[in-house]
């Protein structure tokens, strides 16, 4: 057991981090973790924080390790936003926090899990603190890629690049950590394109597997303009279900935790005003999150859909690359039989355009309609 055991398939990055833990010369006070979604940026940052706090460099067993990993360590602050950006007031709070000495640990660590959501304003508010931190403070920023982070922050931190872990490594983690059947774990890891959280959901929830399959079937289903409009509506519906599935329980859990913290009676039909206002604030936050999660879920479906076209293209070129949809080879073959390489590439472009548009706030249904129209099969 070690703090690093959940950081899968990242040997080069691990070597850098582990060295920094034991060698003061290899240590620095600002780190930037980049890697595609699901590569485990924040998992790696937490593990690093735990290793730094641990008296033996990351045993994974002691109190320092355990609390740093599960996010309850008094000197390790994990900052993430469900909103679309991290605002200036949040940044100022972080600066204040980072100026304090560690209370129990060896370091004060501030992990910003969505550094890509810092705005120019809020990023600048952090600059000075990151440039000249107090001697026991470490900043860890996480983002999908370097380009997503303000250049001023980039240039002041050491870069650790994570890669998409091999599907086998993710599957192995699911088997070891979550007790999932090896065959299911491998299917899920491949289908999720090595996104650990998603792979876990695919492996444990049949509804998620069915929705994914339905989304993929669209690739061979759209012939006419009417089919295209229907298919876009279906994608939106699938995303809604997936969103509800992932949020309903979580929202309820947050509410009961809030009531508990406030010492309110959760069975009471009506709450006193000060508690009601806190509940209203939570609900507002949850609504913002739902918008973002809804967008993320559609983006995920589109990544899935894209993988079928990519697999079909691999079929055509005969390249010795592992298919994402190995479990669904019949679908890939069918698509490869229907579309040539040029057409497959055009379809992939259309999916890419839809993703950009949705990210830019275009009405999702409309962006998807424009895409599904481009995904019509030749008659």
């Amino acid at each position: 057991m070690s703090v690093w055991s959940d950081v899968v398939g990242q040997e080069p990055a691990l070597a850098v981090l582990q060295r920094a833990v034991i060698d003061p010369d290899a240590m620095t006070h600002a780190w930037l973790f980049t890697g595609p979604p699901g590569s485990g940026r924040s998992v790696a940052a937490r593990a690093f924080a735990a290793a730094l706090q641990c008296p033996t460099g990351g045993c994974g067993e002691c109190r320092e390790c355990r609390t740093a990993l599960d996010g309850t360590h008094a000197d390790v602050d994990l900052v993430s936003t469900e909103g679309l950006s991290i605002g200036v007031s949040m940044a100022r709070q972080l600066v204040e926090l980072a100026a304090r000495r560690p209370s129990v640990g060896r370091w004060r660590v501030v992990v910003i899990e969505d550094a890509d959501r810092l705005t120019e304003h809020s990023g600048n508010a952090l600059l000075k603190a990151i440039e000249e931190p107090t001697s026991r403070t470490i900043w860890m920023l996480c983002a999908p890629s370097l380009e997503d982070v303000l250049i001023t922050l980039r240039s002041r931190s050491r870069h650790v690049r994570l890669r998409t872990p091999p599907a086998e490594a993710v599957a192995e983690l699911l088997v070891r950590r979550d007790g999932i059947d090896p065959q299911m774990a491998l299917y899920a890891a491949r289908a999720a394109q090595s996104h650990v959280g998603l792979a876990r959901r695919l492996a444990t929830d049949e509804g998620t597997r069915i929705r994914r399959r339905d989304a993929l079937r669209l690739a061979v289903r759209i012939r006419g303009v009417g089919d295209a409009v229907d298919a876009a509506a279906d994608l939106v519906k699938i995303a809604e279900e997936e969103k509800d599935n992932s949020l309903t329980e979580r929202n309820a859990r947050e509410l009961s935790r809030l009531l508990e913290t406030l010492g309110a009676d959760p069975t009471a039909r009506t709450q006193p005003p000060h508690i009601r206002s806190q509940i209203a604030a939570l609900e507002k936050e949850q609504k913002t999150r739902a918008t973002r999660v809804g967008r993320d879920v559609i983006d995920r479906s589109l990544t899935d859909l894209l993988s079928v076209y990519r697999d079909a293209l691999v079929r055509h070129t005969g390249a010795p690359v592992a298919m994402v949809n190995q479990d669904n080879a019949a679908l890939v073959d069918e698509l490869a039989g229907l579309l040539g390489p040029e057409q497959l590439l055009a379809a992939m472009d259309a999916i890419g355009t839809a993703r950009e548009r949705i990210e830019a706030n275009v009405a999702p249904l409309l962006a998807l309609e424009a895409m599904t129209l481009d995904l019509r099969l030749p008659r």
């Binding site: 006419g224 303009v225 009417g226 089919d227 295209a228 409009v229 229907d230 039909r269 009506t270 548009r357 830019a360 706030n361 275009v362 009405a363 249904l365 409309l366 962006a367 309609e369 424009a370 129209l373 481009d374 019509r376």
Partner: protein
């Protein structure tokens, strides 16, 4: 309702001592409760009305209110939000239902869900009158609702007027309801499209629909004139683009739904029959591919108006031009 015609007042339905108003649509439910109380007042002019709310219910309130008073007047107790009722309120309701008081009419309001199920069952087995307040969601529901509003007030409204009203204010059911009431109160004679236009024509949605109608009909100059005028008076292009998309989508869906009766197609697609008829008329001169290209042009315009392009106004104009060109056959 001050102007309820006399013939309605003359034949009040007799209200049984128990009533359940069931369903999520607040506007309809409020209307139903009001109607029940009005009917009661015909035979009980001195009716006293007491309202109890689940949120502020104190145990025993119901039974205290229901207890016979010294002066012995008639009473109606309206219990709101049975679906949120605390156990005490439910228990009190069950106790009342087990031994109802003479001279007390109980009206219970329940939105949806399982909470209060025992009380619902007890109400039903005590033969309470059940009034449904179903959710108003599709444009078909909204059209039916608005038509019913006018009919209930003994006012004639043309199908075109109802259509224009739903297009203009149908986004919110309560807004639609108050718009109907306003037209009933402020106008006389037949309510036609011109009347609705007078009251609600300035709405952004109405502008969007007019631009879309002209564009889909291939009338380039009218579509551009309306669009430029709207932009000139400061209308946001975003909802106009949304309406363009919605109208084109509707044409595709109706066009690929086959040649069935418009009521059947309307039911399948969640539209109002007039929307199907209108779409069918508009489909003349369109091919599916041309509609597809038009939708793609509108999607590109939406990207531009959301900040992706330099000139959002030009982006919408270009989409409109694409639509009218596609209508004429490219």
């Amino acid at each position: 309702m001050t102007d309820v015609p006399v013939d309605v007042m003359d034949v009040p339905r007799r209200v049984p001592p128990l009533a359940l108003v069931s369903g999520p649509e607040q506007v309809i439910a409020d209307r139903a409760v009001k109607g029940l109380l009005e009917d009661l007042r015909v035979s009980q002019p001195d009716l006293e009305v007491v309202r109890l709310y689940a949120a502020s219910y104190a145990p025993g309130d119901l039974l205290a209110q229901a207890a016979p008073s010294l002066f012995g007047g008639d009473k109606a107790i309206v219990v709101h939000d049975l679906d949120e009722a605390p156990d005490e309120l439910q228990a009190d309701l069950l106790a009342f239902l087990a031994a109802p008081e003479d001279g007390v009419t109980l009206i219970v309001r329940h939105k949806s869900g399982n909470r209060g199920k025992k009380v619902l069952d007890a109400l039903r087995s005590a033969r309470a009158r059940v009034v449904e307040a179903p959710a108003i969601k599709s444009d078909r529901d909204k059209t039916d609702f608005a038509s019913h509003e006018f009919r209930a007030a003994h006012r004639r409204a043309t199908p075109g007027a109802v259509r224009a009203l739903v297009e203009a204010v149908g986004q919110s059911v309560s807004e639609l309801a108050s718009a109907c009431q306003q037209l009933i109160a402020d106008t006389t004679g037949t309510i036609d499209e011109a009347v609705v236009e007078l009251y609600h024509g300035g709405k952004v949605e109405a502008t969007g629909f007019r631009v879309a109608d002209a564009a889909v009909a291939g009338d380039t100059s009218e579509a551009l004139r309306l669009l430029r005028h709207a932009i000139a008076v400061g209308v946001d292009p975003v909802p106009i683009v949304a309406v363009l998309a919605q109208q084109l989508r509707q044409l595709v869906r109706v066009g690929s739904a086959g040649r069935g009766r418009s009521v059947d197609v309307a039911r399948d697609l969640g539209l109002a029959p007039w929307q199907v008829d209108k779409a069918r008329r508009s489909l003349n001169g369109w091919t599916p591919d041309a509609l597809g290209r038009s939708i793609q042009a509108v999607a590109a315009a939406d990207f531009d108006v959301k900040g992706g392009g330099r000139d959002p106004v030009y982006a919408v104009e270009r989409a409109v031009l694409t639509i009218t060109r596609e209508r004429r056959g490219g």
